[in-house]
Assembly symmetry: C2
Homo-oligomer: 125 residues x 2
Amino acid sequence: MQRKTVQREAIQEVFRNSEHPLRLEDILAQGRLLVPTLNRATVYRNLKLLVEIGWLAQVQHPSLGTIYERADLAHHHHFHCNSCDRIYELPGCVLNAAATPEGFIVQEHEIFLSGLCPACVQPAP
Amino acid sequence: MQRKTVQREAIQEVFRNSEHPLRLEDILAQGRLLVPTLNRATVYRNLKLLVEIGWLAQVQHPSLGTIYERADLAHHHHFHCNSCDRIYELPGCVLNAAATPEGFIVQEHEIFLSGLCPACVQPAP
DNA sequence: GTGCTGATGAGATTGCATTTGCAATAGCAT
DNA sequence: ATGCTATTGCAAATGCAATCTCATCAGCAC
């Protein structure tokens, strides 16, 4: 049966502490703060497992590659900041239902925005 | 200087004859109908060149990888049919401006829909 | 037609994300 | 504490898209 390991716990903890979807390198770096010997292969193995059991969801981002996020999130989309490189989850859906195409049946959709996040927009002095 | 070659002409012809964005394999297969010896490396070289001169645009699709389309198209998004595997260009923008996030500056956006295209939706008998 | 050189074809090569093999380690039921 | 075996770390191996090498071919100016 499946065992509880400090490595897997660390990976889950990283997600619990993060408000952002994460790339493999993010997970590895933050996980190593908890378990310094944490290995890349171990992260891949656990991500795969966590996706299989439905705890994580895997998303293919067009410019960032594979990203991971908690599977229990409400419907949302992703914003990538071109300045600080963070990924944000945008609650709700910016898809305009009225504009969905005639004759097509939409089963899934992905929306990726990019630009500047509030933290990177210079506030006026 | 740059020469006119049957290979490059064939690749451009494939795009002129297509209403869909194309993957490398599509371009290669359709191009070989015009120039049977057409080589994968040649296609890559010409795609790169056509993107550089602004004749083609390159798009990263989250599930299909790199796709190419004419650069002179109006703003649009992409629909991937899960049944016939074709990619469609959807005129207009289904992005709901009212729902764009507070405090974020959106510089680019990509919307990918998938589902069933009209040709794959069974018509009632 | 000739010569220069940009372009091609074929295969080898790279770069990168992800996976795998295996010996060593560590959960956990007993 | 002991034994079974899932899990880990490490390095090597994969898979794949994209790129490069280089000998040969083919535009095109002359």
